[in-house]
Subunit: 418 residues, 2 copies
């Protein structure tokens, strides 16, 4: 058994796996220049170029510290030892739906970055991860569709922990994933509520998954790793540094259809997750509390905003369900082609697509199947974007795969012919 | 000394005082047909017609029970004994600013009532009172301009009472009147906070002012009557019946520039005050609380609404000040003509005028003074409406009175000539 087995058994080549493991070690998460290089050159050539130092200055600057010492084979070996696997964009387990939102924001940010209008931000660039280190039997692809993030203060009050546990228990009971970090307070309560309901909970860690942080939550990490999913952008051994928390927050927002801020002080890190949630166009929610509690002050700020920036007030799990609508209803498992789907449900699924997936979907023929390269021509998108969007479209029951390529799901033919 | 002295010493005739005292006894507050009769016939002829029974069926129905037994002289005598006075629309002490809002809503309701589209509602018709029984040294005309209503549940929690006291103390310290009912819980805390800050507090009672209700709050009524204002539409001796509470709530909303609901269960009476507040176009505010508290559920409902129906979330006194803007700033005492007023402040004062006052204001000449009858012609309004609106316009520093009539305040001449 070699370390390469730590990647999931699929059509992903060892070369790609090693390249992405290297990229995930050599650069910090959320690094725009590296993401752009990988986007243009592909992971294998990008990794090789970085190793050789044959890269633009900004990439070189972001990778020089570890370009020689990074050892992806050792990282994959360590992953095996800790029961982790590496999930890459080229694999079926990749959360395309969740990440597609980050691809849209990343392209906007890239334009601003390249134009020199904005500098690279050390923490929290809204760009896709190069790979994810994952542990647990949970189902990652549906994340971002049926996930609800619950975030808040480490120094939560008894009220905040109680409300979090109740809400996450109820959400898990309704088959929603609960997504949070690994901190004390709201994070821990969110996972505990979902675990109590035997629900799937996703813990997104800022450091390597072999290093639970805070150590006092090691048992929580174990419990989530046994039934749900532990997720990190950082390879085994990576320390949970401050900027990694900020960068991590974008993943929590991306892996959920909406974010509930339960308790947050005026300058809480949870507000950075709220920012990412809005940037991704997901639903931002906040739980009110006593105005005498500093731990609710951040929530009240979110609730007092006007327009699209305002969080929806959550006073019960029903409010959460109303706020996220039927997002992901019926998407928990891949839709079977023969499964009847109501027209308005199809319409809602289409409306929920991120802009990129929507563009791909619009290029898919109703009857005559088309292959990826034809879809790329029809949509005017790079083939790689088409390839990345298709799994999510299939998962949503909007597109079906045939031997001759892709076409719209049977439900559309019924609709258009009936 | 006769009972007639219970009315304030001004140009109001005994005949008018007696007529309005009779009207306030013979019909329940908020009676649309009686209000309409008084509007058309004037108080003296309206009272005489009711006594004779020479009135339309709806007026007869609303007044038959007490038309013979009502004894306004006895009521005015009783008022004197209890230290009360009768304030009527014809007097300078009448809160024109506050009541003008009710006149606008009353005209809309009247149209619906007369068309047969809507029936007379026993409780809570948004119409002006025929008169007010008042006790205390406070200043009534400015009510509705610098008043902030604080309402909520009788069964308030310690949290609700604490927040109410803190907010009302802070508002009183900033020279705002606090307006509320006389119940236990939020009402009592609102008055206590304002009294602690030596502020003016206005207690609007549903029954006669000689009968504090609940009796356990008699000391509170005494304290408010000594430094602020006790106000009731009902004459001495009237019992605090349920429908009088609902009708009373419109006065609380009208006598304030905005209403803060601090704690309210899902079906609290405070929500009827909130409804009147919105109907009058005033600012509706609500304090959030723990979502685990039934006493905050009504507040959260108000905060979750969309659009104009939504209450603004209040987490501090600064939020209240922001919400009501500079409403009434500088209006605590009548503006002196020579006092410099900024143009944007004038603009804001104009924007805050109710539709009726605005129409009168628009008819006032900048330089050449005009008398009431000319203003009526210019505005197309009945003379009585012009007469009623002018005190508020003067109080707002928008209009000045000269020997030849009324014209815009000096500030406008500076603006238009400079």
């Amino acid at each position: 058994m070699t370390g390469l087995d730590a990647a999931e058994p699929s059509a992903v080549t060892d070369e790609v796996r090693l390249a992405r493991a290297y990229l995930s070690r050599v650069a910090e998460p959320g690094c725009i220049p590296v993401w752009d290089l990988v986007r243009n050159a592909g992971p294998v050539d990008a990794a090789a170029a970085i190793r050789r130092g044959a890269v633009p200055d900004d990439v070189a600057g972001a990778t020089s510290a570890r370009r020689d010492s990074a050892d992806p084979e050792a990282d994959l070996d360590a992953a095996i030892r800790h029961g982790l696997r590496l999930v890459v964009p080229e694999s079926d387990e990749w959360p395309h739906f969740a990440v597609a939102g980050l691809e849209a924001t990343a392209l906007r940010r890239l334009a601003a970055y390249r134009s020199g209008r904005e500098r690279h931000r050390e923490g929290g660039e809204p760009i896709p991860p190069v790979a994810l280190w994952v542990k647990g039997p949970g189902h990652l692809p549906q994340a971002g569709v049926r996930g609800v993030a619950m975030v808040g203060s480490r120094a939560a009050t008894a009220y905040g922990r109680h409300v979090t546990t109740e809400l996450s228990y109820a959400l898990a009971g309704r088959d929603f994933d609960v997504v949070s970090g690994g901190a004390f307070g709201i994070d821990a309560a969110a996972h505990q509520g979902a675990l109590s309901a035997d629900g799937q909970t996703i813990l997104v860690s800022a450091g390597g998954l072999d290093r639970p942080y805070p150590p006092g939550n090691a048992a929580l990490f174990d419990a989530v790793g046994e039934s749900g999913l532990l997720v990190s952008e950082s390879p085994p051994g990576a320390a949970p540094q401050r900027h990694r928390f900020l960068t991590r927050n974008r993943l929590i927002a991306a892996l959920s259809t909406g974010t509930v801020v339960v308790e947050a002080a005026a300058r809480s890190g949870a507000l950075s997750t709220a920012k990412h949630c809005l940037m991704l166009g997901r639903t931002l929610m906040a739980v009110p509390g006593p105005i005498t509690s500093a731990m609710s002050a951040g929530c009240h700020v979110l609730l007092r905003r006007e327009g699209d920036e305002r969080a929806l007030l959550i006073s019960s799990v029903d409010d959460v369900l109303e706020a996220i609508g039927s997002a992901g209803e019926g998407l928990h498992r891949p839709a079977r082609p023969d499964e009847p789907v109501a027209a308005d449900e199809l319409r809602q699924r289409i409306d929920r697509l991120d802009p990129l997936s929507r563009r791909v979907f619009d290029a898919v023929p109703v009857r005559r199947p088309a292959r990826e390269d034809e879809l790329a021509r029809r949509s005017g998108l790079p083939v790689v974007d088409v390839i990345r969007s298709l799994p999510a479209l299939r998962l949503a029951g909007l597109v079906e795969s045939t031997e001759e390529g892709f076409r719209m799901a049977a439900a559309f033919r019924r609709r258009t012919s009936g």
